[in-house]
């Protein structure tokens, strides 16, 4: 059950406001965002008990760290929502060496910009999380694969890594524990598909970022063919909090049974106050986020559509926003939380133009390996384009749904589903808007 009264207490990173945050509405991140001092080691040590979790973890067995992660009910923050503790548990005594820990900082899902704030304002959380993660899976090498466009964030991360090396939080025999861990920032070069973990691994290896056939999964054969765990930035940044304060405490921060912690959400589009917000996982509905957190719609327009989880997520209509904003509730209504990127669309923007823009993106970003995705995305784009130009045919909507159906679930990676789901949902939920073009003589 959700306690509505607590929802007023969330902090917005956007305006730096700080309300009286009760223990039940605790935030871990946003109070440090927008603060240019927060990225330095001194601040981290003083204000965030920096590297104390690492010391604590070194007193535990790696298996005990993994158990704590399991207790935390932390689900991956990159988009798939896989339980982090279970993922780490895929590496066990029998797993061969060397092993790698890779941070997915590609943040390529349109609408998502929360990891950027972690990297530029609290990079040491990520670094400490990675050292602990490395310790838990007995990996001595880690990579942060950051999208190429984030040049400034890569530089800030590198500066923080240099600080950590200098003070002995990275490198050989960290804090006298006997554990070694080296961390390298690796820049991507502009490819959405490198946010897919096996595309990312190929890219890290100096190849085209084409996703791999699975199995084998990364935990069996990942980076350089070796056992590898790939975790998102926010996922790893949560690790020091979990080790310091316990998996149970973290789990209870969330308001749903299987979803622990707080959640950073990226809100963009037609709201008065877009930005990164932090809420207890599962504590608010989409409506509350739009109207209570973000001040409602820009120019007080009428809500037309909400894309709840990055552009890959099936769209919601204005009638569907009373859903709790978390993994399971959104899945129940056939959409998804994805990377928790909420894009709000008012009635001033045409939804047919919008799905055309989304589809153009996937057609551009399809890596081309799988025929359904490579061909289908372009066909969907072309068909929506002709509808927009007033040349749509009556059967085009059924054709679009059919193509989407022939892409979804029939490709090596999730890009196919990411392209198909939105098209199918827009066609189903906004039929009259398409028909205005096809029958009504409307054209762009």
């Amino acid at each position: 059950m959700i306690d509505q009264s607590q929802n007023q207490k969330m902090i917005s990173a956007n305006d730096g406001a700080s309300f009286g945050v009760g223990s039940s509405g605790e935030t871990l991140y946003v109070q440090h965002f927008k603060n240019d001092e927060a990225r330095f080691l001194g601040y981290y040590l003083e204000k965030l008990q920096g590297y104390s979790a690492l010391k604590y973890a070194f007193g535990m067995t790696p298996a005990a760290v993994v158990d704590e992660m399991k207790k935390s009910n932390l689900r991956g923050r990159g988009g798939a929502g896989f339980p982090t503790g279970i993922k780490w548990g895929f590496i066990n005594d029998k797993t061969p060496f060397p092993r790698y820990l890779v941070c997915n900082a590609d943040e390529s899902e349109p609408g998502t910009f929360k990891d950027r704030d972690i990297m530029r304002y609290t990079p040491h959380l990520l670094i400490e999380g990675m050292v602990i993660g490395g310790f838990a899976i007995s990996a001595n090498v880690g990579y942060i694969y950051i999208r190429g466009e984030y040049t400034r964030e890569a530089k800030l991360l590198q500066e923080a890594i240099d600080e950590a090396y200098e003070k002995g939080y990275l490198g050989k025999n960290i804090l006298g524990s006997g554990f070694d861990f080296d961390l390298t920032v690796h820049r991507g070069a502009g490819a959405y598909i490198c946010g897919e973990e096996t595309g990312l691994l190929n890219s890290l290896e100096g190849k085209r970022g084409e996703p791999r056939v699975k199995p084998p999964f990364p935990a069996q054969a990942g980076a350089f063919g070796k056992p590898t765990i790939v975790n998102n930035v926010e996922t790893l940044a949560n690790v020091p909090f979990i080790v310091n304060r316990g998996g149970d405490w973290f789990s209870k921060l969330g308001r749903l049974e299987r979803s622990g912690g707080t959640r950073l959400i990226s809100v963009s589009g037609h709201v008065k106050k877009p930005g990164v917000y932090e809420i207890p996982a599962g504590s608010m509905t989409v409506r509350q986020i739009i109207y209570d957190l973000c001040g409602g719609l820009l120019n007080d327009r009428k809500l037309k559509a909400v894309i709840p989880g990055g552009s890959s997520a099936p769209v919601l209509t204005a009638d569907e926003i009373d859903v709790i904003y978390d993994i399971d509730p959104l899945m129940k209504i056939n959409s998804m939380l994805g990377s928790a990127a909420l894009m709000v669309v008012s009635d001033e923007y045409c939804v047919v133009k919008l799905i055309h823009r989304i589809t153009k993106f996937y057609a551009h970003e399809s890596c081309g390996q799988c025929t359904p995705c490579r061909e289908g995305c372009h066909w969907m784009e072309s068909i929506i384009e002709r509808i927009l130009h007033g040349k749509g045919r009556e059967q085009d909507l059924a054709l679009l749904s059919d193509i989407a159906d022939n892409i979804g679930g029939k490709t090596l990676c999730a890009l196919g589903d990411a392209a198909a789901g939105p098209v199918a949902s827009f066609v189903k939920k906004f039929k009259p808007d398409f028909e205005a073009y096809i029958r009504g003589g409307k054209h762009a």
Binding site: E109, A189, Y192, Y349, L354
Partner: protein, 157 residues
């Protein structure tokens, strides 16, 4: 053949080498560094990068051509990349693109005759909360409108 890439390039790569178990893993960092020096990746530069890594030039091109940030054609001194993905178009990115086209007298994909500006549309930059956004060479500019864009371009040396 005279080397096109600087000593700095080679010493940087030397420093990176021990960070990876294979030399091919240096390809993306090497392409970035080579492009930073030359503005783009000419066939000759690609060949030199490939020789350093120990791969065929075709392999270097195969990889470079996969990623949008590597320029396989020359670009202007200032490379403008306006994000036109969802969050940015909702906040007026289309207007910014046409403003750039009008101001620079070129279309998307073109370079001005004096080779000062190249204009491209870009997919999501991850700056959606401060949309619309663009990259100018390696730097982000956010919360843009036509006036702000003009001020930024006016101030370029």
């Amino acid at each position: 053949m005279a080397k096109l890439l600087s000593e700095k390039f080679y010493s940087e790569m030397k420093k990176l080498e021990p960070r990876y178990p294979t030399k091919v893993a240096l390809l993306l960092p090497a392409l970035h560094a080579a492009q930073d020096e030359n503005g783009w990746l000419s066939p000759e530069v690609l060949e030199e990068v490939a020789a350093y890594i120990g791969i065929h030039p075709a392999q270097a091109r195969e990889v470079a051509s996969f990623y949008t940030m590597y320029n396989l054609k020359p670009v202007g001194k200032y490379h403008i990349k306006v994000c036109t993905n969802v969050a940015c178009v909702l906040r007026g990115a289309d207007g910014l693109v046409s403003h750039c086209e009008k101001r620079l007298g070129i279309e998307v994909g073109q370079t001005t005759a004096d080779r000062r500006f190249t204009l491209h549309e870009e997919e999501c930059l991850g700056a959606c909360g401060t949309a619309p956004a663009m990259m100018l060479n390696n730097d982000y500019h956010e919360d843009l409108d036509a006036q702000k864009l003009d001020r930024i371009l006016d101030q370029l040396p």
